[in-house]
Every structure is written in structure tokens, then in C-alpha cells.
């Protein structure tokens, strides 16, 4: 995926910004994180007969202003109400098993944004097996409307040369932790 270089001063942090108009977005196919990989027996039992990772596709774009890498993700918003769980999205970066959101041996960076909670900088060692890292390194802004979510997550520009994956959590379906839809393949950033 081409990381667009945008002039400093462009408001890439805003998903509705016109700065994104010239950045090509790619349709990315998503698939549920495998049930067998879920980290606890409880989760595997509770979700054995329940569909999750329901978001099938996202549109992903990436841009940098030289200081930060901005990842914009757009996907269809499930309108079903849920007062307990929120929609969320993550940019996954690094080198490791993407389908399981990393592993203990190959942890991945997870720039995570959740509606109502904001952005978290996480290290992901498996589905939902996350630890918190320096929160100030990652930020995010999201907006929903017209049946869609558009979220921009950003972090250090040094990630611009690596590989990108995305994960989406459908809060209406009580998706959280490892119960996500994740991109089927890495997107090499260039």
C-alpha cells in the first residue's frame, strides 16, 4: 500500500479532512480471528456457536506528513444498538502472525481506537492478549455517519516502512479483545 506523503499542516488526523481526498484507499478483505486461537477456554466456549468478526471489508488509506503515519479506516457501521460495547478499530503493525493479532514470540503493535474511549497504544501478543504501551505515541479520531465509520489512527512515522494490517470490532455484536475481524493479508507499506 502506498503511503501518501502530504504537506505538513494538512489535517490528516481528521477523517473528514479534504487532505484525504487525494489519498487512494484500498478495499481490504477481513476475516474473523480463528476461534481456536482465542486465548481462554471461556471465550472459546462462549463464542463456539456465535458469529463474530462480522465486518467483511474495510477501506484503508495511509498517509504521512513526515512526523506521523496516519491510517484511515472506513467500514460499514452495524446500526444495532448496544449500550455495553463500542465499535473499535486497530492498525496492526510489525512482523508476525496477523490472523491471530500476533503471538507471544512475535508481538505486534496495535494502534487501537474505540468509540468513546479514544486511542490506546497496545502491544498485541495474541487475540486480546494485549499490554499497554506509551499512550502518548498514538492518537485517533473517529466519526460515524451515513451508515459508515471513518477513523484515523496515527503513530510514529517510523512505522511507514513496515507492514500494515487492520482489525475491526463490531460493538453491536459485543466484539472485543480477540473477537475481531482482521485483514486477511499484510499490506506492505511503501
Amino acid at each position: 500500500m502506498k503511503v501518501a506523503t502530504v504537506n505538513a499542516g494538512a489535517d490528516l488526523a481528521d477523517p473528514a479532512s479534504q487532505a484525504w481526498n487525494g489519498v487512494t484507499a484500498e478495499a481490504v478483505a477481513l476475516a474473523p480471528v480463528p476461534l481456536a486461537a482465542q486465548p481462554t477456554e471461556y471465550i472459546r466456549e462462549a463464542w463456539a456457536n456465535r458469529a463474530y468478526g462480522k465486518t467483511a471489508e474495510a477501506r484503508v488509506a495511509a498517509a504521512t506528513d513526515g512526523k506521523k503515519l496516519y491510517v484511515r479506516v472506513e467500514w460499514a457501521d452495524d446500526p444495532a444498538p448496544n449500550a455495553e460495547f463500542q465499535d473499535a478499530v486497530g492498525a496492526v503493525l510489525g512482523d508476525g502472525p496477523l490472523d491471530t493479532l500476533g503471538s507471544a514470540a512475535s508481538p505486534l503493535a496495535l494502534w487501537y481506537w474505540e468509540n468513546g474511549r479514544g486511542a490506546l497504544n497496545l502491544v498485541s501478543k495474541g487475540p486480546g492478549v494485549v499490554t499497554k504501551a506509551d499512550a502518548s505515541a498514538v492518537s485517533g479520531t473517529g466519526a460515524s455517519g451515513g451508515g459508515k465509520w471513518a477513523v484515523v489512527i496515527s503513530g510514529p512515522a517510523s512505522a511507514s516502512k513496515g507492514k500494515l494490517g487492520v482489525a475491526v470490532w463490531n460493538g453491536s455484536n459485543e466484539e472485543r479483545a480477540g473477537l475481531a475481524a482482521v485483514s486477511r493479508n499484510w499490506l506492505p507499506l511503501e
Binding site: Q38, P39, T40, E41, Y42, I43, E45, A46, A83, E84, R117, G126, P127, G128, V129, V130, T131, K132, E174, R176, A177, G178
Partner: protein, 344 residues
């Protein structure tokens, strides 16, 4: 003490002495859940049984271990509405609004579906004059097989060497599988801080030799604390030796470490208001649904000891339950909190 050197702090609530005053609930509340997002959290709560309790209908929410498969059983995550409470009140309107006699204190929440920690107090069950109820305090059971711990993907929960099940809130991501897995539904969610929270067994007090607040503040001398396997102590005697203190919903398979002396029952009244000495007012099958088939033996043992004392005899069991010496309730945690010197 177990073979691996660990111990288990356990509680025994005597339901024949609990008067439902909620002093334990308030002692816990003022100590631990007054920060942001904790308004609706009552780590210790007393409910009227039979009843829907807190969260509303918790006994039907699943969780625990499936006895057939030995695997974790899916459960429902109690919602904010099912816990209820945490209301704001119209204090300003009542006290300063010039509405004397018109405005009354009322929760600022929709009347429809309103629920709170002790919402169905004293409702109970049965038809007058044979209606019945009893009070049951509940805290985290600090289970021997804590399914909350197993369910957590981030490893936020741990069982300590003293048996308390504690959470590292810096590690908790608020995924709430623990709340689903807990068969007792005694884990709350802090919507402000996005972490789950539950009774911490007053571990900072316990570490300083002070009894948990729910125990020390009980005006009815209705609750004992101590190490389960420490022979000769009230907790050990009541649970292990005399077997009159029983776990709640042991069928959930988690090995709860809060035990209850089951409630004795008044006799039923016949239609002509004569006393039916053969039939207890609280249906034994209801008590069995809570405490298992052992409840019948426990109640028989209690009754027989009472008979013995009525006949002029002496009963160590009843002396223990009466708790002539208040400090005996506190187990090894007899330090007065007023004597603790703050270190920070």
C-alpha cells in the same frame, strides 16, 4: 494450609443473625467505591431472598463450570441497567428550590425499569400469613477455581497465596469476560475508567492484620472471617467440623469461599391460624436450590443443638454462633484499624 503453602481466607455469614441493615454494604462502599465511575458498585451487598437481587436476576445469568463437560459455561454480562442504582437525586430542588411539600427526593432516572442494589428489599415470597424472606449478604467468593481468572485474556486477575482473587487494574482492558464467567455476578464494570472491579477482600487491611470492613463493622455479629483450614477457629469449625456453613450455588463448580449458615424457618400457620409444627415456612427445596442437599443436615444439626441448650445442655456450636466474644469473629485479623500508622 495446602500442600503448596497457600491458604484460603474464607467468610461465614450466619443468615439467622443478619438483619439486613446494610452496614457491611456501607462500610465497604465508603472505603472502596467512592471514586469516579463507582457510584453503582456495591462490592458487598445484602439482598432479600427469595428475590431478583443484584444484578437483577443474577441467578439466571449463567457462568461457572458446566458439571457435565467440566468446561467454562457461557454467561451473561450484567448490564448497567441490571445492576441499577448510582442515581443522582434532586437534592437541590428539594432543599433549595422553594418547593417544600411538593418536590420529594427521587432518583433522577426513568421510573420504568428502575432497579438498584437492594430494590426488592423485604418482598420475599409466599402468601400471607405464610410469607417469608431472609437476608443474604454477598461479596466476591474468592473462589478456589476462579473462572474469572481463567476467562481473562490479558491475565489481569491473580489468586494470591492467602486465597484472595485480585485484579491488576493497569492490566485489565475492560473486556468483561470475567463478568460473564462469574456465576455469582459480583464483578462490576467501571464505565468511566473502563475496567472491571470487584471485592478486594480488604487486602490492605488484611495485610495489616485488620479484618475486612464488612466483618468488623457488622453490628449483628453475623459474619466470621479466617483461614479455612486453620483448625479450632470458628470458620474452620462451622465449615469443616460441624458442616453447618455451606457454599452458595456450589453447583457452579468454582469452589466459593464464602459460606452461609442457612436460615431456620418459622412454622407455617394453618388456615385457622393454628401452628403447623411440621412444615417450615421457608420451603426446604428452595434452600436446597441455594445451598445444596447438605442444607437439610445443617438445619437439623442446628435445631438439635438448640434443643440441647433448651434442655439445659451446653453447645460449643451455639456459643460460637452467638459470638459472645466479638474478636472471635475476626479470626487472625484482630488489629484495630485506629492503631495502624499510615505509611504514605
Amino acid at each position: 494450609m495446602t500442600a503448596n503453602g497457600t491458604r484460603q481466607i474464607a467468610w461465614v455469614y450466619d443468615l439467622n443473625k443478619c438483619i439486613g441493615c446494610q452496614t457491611c454494604s456501607v462500610a465497604c462502599k465508603v472505603l472502596w467505591t467512592r471514586d469516579e465511575g463507582e457510584k453503582h458498585e456495591w462490592w458487598c451487598s445484602v439482598n432479600t431472598m427469595p428475590g431478583l437481587g443484584t444484578p437483577k436476576g443474577w441467578e439466571e445469568m449463567g457462568g461457572g463450570i458446566d458439571p457435565k463437560t467440566g468446561k467454562a459455561r457461557p454467561g451473561h454480562q450484567p448490564t448497567r441497567g441490571e445492576f441499577g442504582g448510582g442515581f443522582d437525586y434532586n437534592y437541590y430542588e428539594v432543599f433549595y428550590g422553594g418547593t417544600a411539600g411538593k418536590a420529594h427526593l427521587e432518583p433522577q432516572a426513568p421510573r420504568e425499569g428502575r432497579w438498584a442494589m437492594n430494590w426488592d428489599e423485604d418482598q420475599g415470597a409466599g402468601e400471607w400469613p405464610n410469607s417469608y424472606f431472609f437476608y443474604m449478604p454477598r461479596i466476591c467468593n474468592h473462589c478456589t477455581n476462579p473462572v474469572c481468572l481463567e476467562a481473562c485474556p490479558t491475565g489481569a486477575l491473580a489468586k494470591r497465596d492467602d486465597g484472595l482473587v485480585l485484579r491488576d487494574e493497569d492490566v485489565c482492558m475492560g473486556d468483561r469476560f470475567c463478568m460473564e464467567a462469574c456465576p455469582y455476578k459480583k464483578i462490576y464494570f467501571n464505565y468511566e475508567r473502563h475496567v472491571a472491579q470487584h471485592c478486594i477482600g480488604c487486602f490492605p487491611r488484611v495485610e495489616a492484620g485488620v479484618a475486612p470492613a464488612c466483618v468488623r463493622q457488622c453490628p449483628g455479629r453475623a459474619v466470621f472471617v479466617g483461614f479455612l483450614d486453620e483448625e479450632g477457629t470458628p470458620v474452620n469449625n462451622l465449615v469443616k467440623k460441624w458442616k453447618i456453613a455451606l457454599p452458595l450455588h456450589a453447583e457452579a463448580g468454582t469452589g466459593p469461599n464464602v459460606f452461609y449458615v442457612p436460615p431456620l424457618s418459622p412454622h407455617r400457620l394453618n388456615d385457622d391460624f393454628s401452628i403447623d409444627y411440621q412444615t417450615p415456612r421457608i420451603p426446604p427445596e428452595y434452600l436446597e436450590s441455594l445451598f445444596g442437599p447438605e442444607v437439610h443436615t445443617a438445619l437439623a444439626t442446628l435445631s438439635s443443638e438448640m434443643e440441647k441448650v433448651r434442655g439445659g445442655g451446653s453447645s460449643e456450636m451455639l456459643k460460637t454462633l452467638i459470638a459472645y466474644k466479638w474478636q472471635e469473629l475476626l479470626g487472625p485479623f484482630t488489629v484495630d484499624p485506629a492503631d495502624i500508622v499510615p505509611t504514605v
